[in-house]
């Protein structure tokens, strides 16, 4: 009974935040909503007992990839929205509040005496992660290897696109009638 309810909650959050990703005008906000989406997806995975994927979702997507995203957005300085003093004050207030909350939580954690739990029972119940590993290298070996090629292509692609910025003879490369980029090209 609790699982469907949790699923509904996470799904609702995922949909709403995904919509917000495309509706927000500020790229940073969009990116942060994407983090929310990823986290709620991770929640759904947990509800479905796919702990490993849930964790990976948080660590890889919400963690690593989104940090990279945000870094790029800020590096390119895309989020130049004019903000009023009230918004800034509000955000600062929230920031301070969150900081104190984190601090309090940390203090509370460290003051609690942590004892080692009972050792895990040995034997059959193979963990989620292990099962995935076994499957990946047996039944899904082929798609797994093809995916590695996919990643290789992605890397090569990035290199190609990044290098193109300083293509040899940029002036000569542009034909006289090249599109100016003001209008998208189409038939009409």
């Amino acid at each position: 009974m609790i699982a469907p309810a949790l699923f509904a909650v996470f799904a609702a959050i995922a949909v709403v935040s995904a919509l917000s990703v495309i509706l927000q005008r500020n790229p940073v906000t969009s990116a942060l909503f994407l983090v929310v989406t990823f986290c709620s997806l991770a929640g759904i995975y947990l509800v479905l007992h796919a702990e490993f994927i849930g964790m990976v979702q948080v660590i890889v997507y919400a963690g690593a990839i989104m940090v990279l995203f945000l870094f790029v957005i800020m590096y390119l300085n895309l989020g130049r929205d004019i903000e009023t003093g009230l918004q800034i004050a509000l955000r600062r207030g929230v920031g301070w509040l969150m900081g104190f909350a984190l601090l309090a939580a940390g203090v509370a954690l460290f003051r609690h005496p942590w004892a080692a739990g009972p050792p895990a029972p040995p034997g059959p119940p193979v963990g989620n992660t292990q099962a995935i590993g076994l499957l990946l290298y047996s039944r899904y070996l082929f798609p797994f290897e093809v995916t590695s090629m996919l990643l290789l292509v992605a890397m090569v692609g990035v290199v190609v696109i990044a290098r193109g910025r300083r293509a040899p003879g940029p002036a000569a490369d542009l034909p006289p009638g090249a599109a100016t980029g003001a209008e998208p090209r189409g038939d009409a």
């Binding site: 047996s138 070996l141 093809v146 090569v156 190609v160 490369d173 599109a179």
Partner: protein, 488 residues
């Protein structure tokens, strides 16, 4: 949970996997070789790519009569796989030959170009050679990702960048639909394996189950995007136009064939022939695709855009074969795909040769009077146009005859009539090219042709095949039928 036993490969499987292994190895070798700088103007990358493609084709050819299901059906080696692997290798090889000189004169001569081309070919083969939706999807992404970058390879060209971005965004959009479809099918049947899905369906028919039907439709949408069927076709003219012409040639033949290969395998293996409720939908898409493609092509003045719309229209003819359904329809589609690939490669190949240096001539009017100044180019282009228009004695005619014959056999008289009318309309714009070649005087500076031996070889090969399959279509037809019969 019991672990799945590790896959056991027999010697034959290594031959069957030869193409996949060779292409991966070739791509990586090309990248590694970049540590050893080549002499300027060296053709190392192109030669190596050709070699890789030849080895791939040879490996599969050696094991052509075998039927193996490897990695629990993730990779199947059957007649269908052999047919498409050979086709993709041939498409890749012709594209390499066409690119040889073209990339050099347009200033995009990098090893990565060939790496991406090989990887995209690999993706196509994986799409055609898998009995599992997961692998099909990964293969599709591998092909698409390679193509996105290839389309945008001319970084200094805004058009090329724009085309790549559009193709990428819409491709990702379509992939979303495809993946959702796969998820729904998995949800309905509990498996992503096509054979197990078929077994499941034979035990408990899901006809009318909304999740299953919706999943199937979304899957269809995803593939329809790749083959450029209306209304999922709108990226085609922009991407084809902006891409380097050699890439356009490659993707117009390869990506379409791969999309149809995957669609056919899913349809024939998992869904037991095309599902009946797809009939009206596929018919509607086929009619729209033929009509919109042909009619929009009428007013195009840019050769690349015209050929882009023409390629949309040809997807429509192939869809007619799919509507006819069954193995006959599938073999007609295979036959048409092979024929279409070569005539289209040839037509785009000629476009790659127009212009000197960085200059590119892509307007129909640029062809004015070229037929007499360059007889080979004129003759070849005329043959390709006649073939695309479906006029005998060319391969394109045989393709249409076979497709329409199969459709008539399935009682699709209205669809055939619309197809015939469309092919008549199409002649009007194909004819414009011939008229320009032989019956117009060039306005302004006449177009020069960049002659290069590899491109000429590619041209002669495509020309010979287009004529040969028009005069003697029987062998190809038998191959197409046999490869469909041997589906695992």
């Amino acid at each position: 949970m019991t672990p799945v036993p590790a896959p056991q490969l027999i010697a034959l499987d290594w031959w069957a996997l030869g193409a996949v292994i060779a292409l991966s190895a070739g791509a990586m070798l090309l990248l590694l070789l970049e540590f050893v700088p080549a002499k300027p103007g060296s053709s190392r990358a192109a030669v190596l790519s050709l070699l890789t493609l030849a080895i791939s084709a040879a490996a599969v050819f050696v094991a052509r009569d075998a039927r193996r299901s490897i990695f629990d059906g993730m990779f199947v080696h059957d007649g269908f796989t052999v047919f498409f692997t050979l086709l993709f290798c041939a498409i890749g090889a012709v594209s390499v030959l066409l690119s040889w000189d073209y990339v050099r004169r347009t200033g995009i001569h990098h090893a990565e170009y060939y790496v991406l081309l090989l990887c995209a070919t690999l993706g196509m083969i994986v799409m055609a050679a898998s009995n599992d939706l997961i692998t099909i999807f990964v293969g599709l992404e591998l092909m698409s990702l390679g193509l996105y970058v290839l389309v945008g390879f001319r970084r200094a060209h805004l058009e090329s960048n724009e085309a790549a971005l559009k193709y990428f965004l819409l491709g990702a959009f379509a992939s979303g639909f495809l993946l959702y479809g796969i998820a729904l099918l998995y949800g309905a049947t509990g498996t992503t394996s096509l054979t197990r899905m078929a077994a499941f369906l034979s035990e408990s028919p899901l006809r009318g189950n909304p999740m299953f039907v919706a999943g199937g439709l979304l899957l269809l949408t995803g593939f329809a995007f790749k083959v450029a069927a209306v209304p999922f076709h709108m990226w085609t003219p922009d991407a084809y136009d902006g891409a380097p012409t050699s890439v356009t040639a490659f993707m117009s033949a390869g990506a379409k064939a791969a999309g149809f290969a995957a669609l056919l395998r899913v349809g024939l293996t998992a869904l037991g022939g095309m599902p009946a409720e797809w009939g009206p939908i596929l018919s509607a898409i086929a009619i729209l695709t033929m009509t919109v493609g042909n009619v929009t092509a009428l007013l195009q003045t840019n050769l690349k855009r015209m050929l882009a719309y023409s390629s949309i229209a040809h997807a429509g003819y192939i869809l007619v074969a799919l509507v006819a359904g069954g193995r006959d329809g599938a073999s007609a589609a295979l036959f048409y795909l092979a024929v279409y690939s070569f005539m289209n490669l040839g037509a785009f190949g000629i476009v790659t040769m127009l212009g000197r240096g960085r200059e590119e001539r892509v307007l129909v009017s640029d062809l004015a009077g070229l037929g007499f100044r360059q007889p080979l180019v004129g003759l070849a282009m005329t043959v390709f146009m006649i073939s695309l228009g479906g006029i005998p004695p060319t391969a394109g005619f045989m393709g249409k005859v076979y497709v329409f014959k199969v459709a008539l056999g399935a009682g699709l008289v209205p669809l055939v009539i619309i197809g015939v009318l469309n092919s008549v309309v199409s002649v009007f714009y194909y004819l414009r090219v011939t008229v320009a070649l032989y019956m117009q005087e060039p306005q302004g500076e006449p177009t020069e042709v960049s002659w290069a031996a590899p491109a000429v070889v590619a041209l002669l090969v495509t020309l010979a095949l287009t004529l040969w399959w028009g005069i003697q279509a029987h062998d190809l037809l038998l191959e197409a039928q046999r490869s469909v019969m041997g589906l695992l």
